[in-house]
């Protein structure tokens, strides 16, 4: 499978905040390393879930892939060619983004038709506009499409609004969709329909999908591969069955422990204490070591690895075929 998208050693930083006085004196805050050296590929017709807690950098990574943030270092390749100043427009046609909040993504004063046609107009595609809009709405499951043309967002349900947003992405016939928490604002009974739609688009239109989510259950439902991010770095990546049922990184294991499941028991599970540190203060060595149960409970020391956990940044190594983890103990 040749990759549609390839991210190589990507770094994105934000200027740290300082007080007004310090700012006037020309002082600068510590840099926030939101994305701190990420490699990731998405193959043709592949569904990749990018998972992690809020603040781990997953949304910044998605926005950078979309060209909405400028990387400090690293490259993004689309079909083997680096994206840059030239060809950004064509790239944006090929890679479309679906945001989390369908109510916020649609202009309340625009009809469904106008919202979906907007992308065509931006890209100067005036031929057969009505046919293309109808086709996109139908692909997104809004049938018959003509019935939705003149409706406004407030006349639609949450699920229908998300379908309109997806139609707005599909109208440009992209090769890939980046979806940031596409169902987290939707009611549970409606989620399944939208996820089924995304899988159908992969099967019928051959789209590649990068789905950003905090929900590992969702990753199990839809993803071929899962990448787990912690504090700006991918700590584990591999086939969904592997990563979610045979996790190699202690952070992935901790995330899986707290997925509420039918039949689970709260009392018997280990919950990590504390919260991730902020990206201006990334711990040395393995960035997870201050919260890592393997370090806290002495297993890293027993294996003679604790000094490395504390002082040496672990590389992402292939432990099983296609299954990578960045842990000295893996």
């Amino acid at each position: 499978m040749s990759p549609v998208l390839e991210v190589q050693d990507l770094h994105v930083t934000f200027a740290g905040r300082v007080g007004l006085g310090a700012g006037l004196l020309g002082r600068r805050g510590a840099e926030a390393r939101a994305v701190d050296g990420v490699d990731l590929t998405v193959g043709e017709r592949e569904v990749v879930a990018l998972a992690g807690e809020s603040g781990c950098g997953k949304t910044t990574l998605a926005r950078t892939i979309m060209g909405l943030e400028r990387p400090r270092a690293g490259r993004i390749l689309f079909e083997g060619r680096p994206i840059g100043r030239n060809g950004l427009r064509a790239y944006r046609r090929n890679v479309q983004m679906v945001f989390q909040d369908p109510a916020g993504a649609l202009n309340p004063r625009q009809t469904v038709y106008e919202s979906v046609a907007e992308g065509l107009r931006v890209h100067g595609l005036h031929q057969d506009e009505e046919g293309r809009v109808a086709q996109a709405l139908a692909s997104a499951g809004l049938r018959p499409p003509e019935r939705f043309f003149l409706l406004y967002p407030h006349e639609l349900s949450g699920g229908q609004r998300q379908r309109v947003v997806i139609a707005g992405a599909l109208v440009l016939e992209p090769k890939m969709i980046v979806a940031d928490e596409p169902v987290s604002m939707l009611d549970a009974s409606v989620r399944g329909e939208i996820l089924s739609l995304l899988l159908r688009l992969r099967d019928e239109l051959g789209l590649a999908l990068l789905i950003v989510t905090h929900d590992l259950g969702l990753a199990w439902t839809v993803a071929d591969r899962v990448a787990v991010m912690y504090l700006g770095k991918i700590v584990e990546v591999g086939p969904a069955e592997e990563v979610l049922t045979r996790p190699l990184h202690p952070y992935t294991r901790a995330l899986l422990e707290v997925v509420p499941e039918r039949g689970g028991d709260l009392a018997g599970r280990r919950v990590l204490a504390g919260e991730p540190p902020d990206p201006t203060r990334i711990p040395p060595g393995c960035r997870f070591h201050p919260r890592c149960p393997e370090v806290a409970e002495g297993r890293a020391a027993a294996l003679g690895q604790e000094h490395r956990c504390l002082g040496e940044v672990p590389a992402l190594r292939e432990i099983a075929p296609g299954h990578f983890a960045a842990c000295h103990l893996a």
Binding site: G192, S196, W220
Partner: protein, 327 residues
């Protein structure tokens, strides 16, 4: 005596577009020391019930039925009595901790204020000491009581909200989506805290959420709401383990089990959306979306029929008069 006993509660909001029936006849009990989950999707009426319990609904809202707190009807009590009951006997933890805390006051002072208003004898020093104790009780270092809300993370603020709810040692705590805005790891921390406090203090806990998967671990009993009514109610393990109502079944199916091959690439869910409360379908309100509907469902409005030990479901599949007739 039952700690909280709701009987035939109906709540109708007055809006510009006319009356909106949000709760359409609900019975619900919470015993002392028990955790009851109230689940359903947005608009099903679950938060309206939380607000009705402490009479926090907007003026002009029509509320009928009874809300008995240790036998005393909240809906008919005097305002003075109601003020005493709020916090002292029943307290509520809301979803958005950021918006419920005063941003320009230290969190310890805010907890102490609640104590002093409700406990006439308490001096400022005593109230602050007790506030620091409560902050420690919910798992934060006591010194955090001296910080402002913006200095705390979302999970820490939600802990402060829980400390505040416990300030006057209430017997009932109503938690309305207390973990919805939190990350999974922090959500697990807050749930573990609630479970521990509930056990240690013998609280009655009414836990309201759209996320059924959270309830299984936390609750003794679960009530599932749809379109303003309870459609299934019973022990948590049986409601989620073997749902009696097709809606509960669909909700439970919306949360996959990681590792279960039947959930791979097969998102569960229902077609359609919950009904507009001003246009509730005739017959069973769930019938237009129901995968199991049969002939009379669009005409007959089912009541809660017994399913098994301690469990009832509002579905004609369980109507004893039709037993065996359909399946």
């Amino acid at each position: 005596m039952t700690l909280l006993s709701i009987r035939d509660l109906e709540v109708t909001y007055a809006t510009e577009a006319g009356p909106v029936p949000a709760v359409r006849g609900v019975d619900l009990d919470v015993e002392a020391g028990q955790t009851v989950g109230l689940a359903g999707e947005s608009g099903c009426g679950k938060s309206t019930i939380a607000h009705a319990i402490l009479r926090l609904l907007p003026e002009g809202t029509r509320v009928t039925g009874r809300v008995l707190l240790e036998g005393e009807d909240v809906l008919s009590m005097s305002f003075g009595r109601l003020r005493a009951v709020r916090w002292d006997e029943a307290a509520i933890v809301f979803q958005g901790a950021m918006h419920s805390l005063n941003p320009v006051r230290r969190v310890g002072d805010q907890i102490a204020e609640a104590i002093r208003i409700h406990q006439a004898g308490a001096t400022e020093g005593e109230a602050l000491r007790r506030a620091a104790e409560l902050v420690a009780r919910v798992g934060l270092p006591a010194r955090r009581a001296g910080e402002y809300p913006h200095e705390l993370s979302g999970g820490q603020r939600q802990r402060v909200m829980i400390a505040m709810a416990l300030a006057c040692a209430p017997r009932l705590v109503v938690a309305d989506e207390p973990t919805t805005a939190l990350d999974v790891m922090v959500q697990a921390q807050v749930l573990a805290l609630l479970e521990q406090l509930q056990a240690e203090m013998g609280l009655g806990l009414l836990f309201i959420t759209h996320d059924l998967s959270v309830l299984r671990e936390l609750c003794d009993r679960i009530a599932v709401m749809y379109a303003g009514r309870v459609v299934e109610e019973g022990p948590a393990a049986s409601v989620l383990g073997a749902p009696g109502h097709p809606y509960t079944q669909a909700l439970a199916g919306a949360f996959p089990s990681i590792g279960d091959p039947t959930d791979r690439r097969a998102p569960g869910g229902l077609a359609g959306d919950p009904p507009d409360p001003q246009r509730i379908p005739p017959g069973c309100s769930f019938h237009p979306r129901c995968p199991a509907r049969f002939e009379p469902c669009d005409r007959v409005d089912p009541s809660l029929y017994p399913v098994d030990e301690g469990r009832r479901a509002a579905c004609l599949l369980h109507d004893p008069a039709r037993a065996g007739a359909t399946t």
